[in-house]
Amino acid sequence: MGKPRPFLNLILQSCLIFGFACILAAVFFLFRGQSFPLVPDSQYIQVKADSVLAVNGQQIHPVSYRQLNKLLSQGNAALIDVRSANAFSRGHIPGAVSIPLSDLYLNYDLIETLQAEYRIVITYCDSPDCMESLSVAYELQMFFPEIYYYVGGWNEYKSR
């Protein structure tokens, strides 16, 4: 009978478990496809991460396409399109109201109406490069207990 090698067995079995986890991760990537690619979009992550960390006080959370739909399906979220009125009229996410950043102070009545009806607000603009949705979200902190901004924006939504 060979000499027992407990440490070698430990390493081999640990590698076996780790290897199986890697295989499962590969299957995970196959099923997830474009929504969770092998190599992430660095700019996308940086924009999301830096914008959340830059906001003091109440946290404003970035949401993905899937999270947006989940919040909207719950029925207690107001959706605000912060692009210009022209851009809004050319196309917008169903259920959104237009409150451009430039006209924010002209729409306080509308904001108060939304505040009476919803406890969650989600803002969006064109794309991750557009920071206006975060700017509006920052201004709305005093009105809503939960604030999100849809990072992908209209460009991602219409492509889905």
Partner: protein, 144 residues
Amino acid sequence: MNTKADNIPKALEILSLIVLSMVFFFSGITKFMDPSQFVLETYYYRILPIGTLHILCAVLIMLELLVAFSIWVPRFRAASAFIISALMLMFIVFIGSAMARGLDISCGCFGAHSQQVGWSKIGENTVLLLCSLAVFIKNYPIKK
């Protein structure tokens, strides 16, 4: 004969098994449901390169789910406890690093249910590390 294993009561081993498997299953499943959020929370630590985040996070999620079950298999119990101990050490180092740099971030432990980094998280992870070490000592050396 593993004499150190005899010092650890069987009840403690079983309790540790239950705690570790439940914690890692819950941790893995919450991250599995929203891997993008977990990637973001991992990025906040500013330790790992962005390009590797998806791969490392996916492997970690699967590893957590796997060890939550494999620790119940006697043949793989010591190896699973070894992996869990390594993971807990890594988490403690990451959280300590974030605290040292003054980062007020979510620990990313349980997805949306995560707490902020702090001494309580280090304490929790230390307890889990001790549990995994107890299981490891009880089951090492591995018999063929």
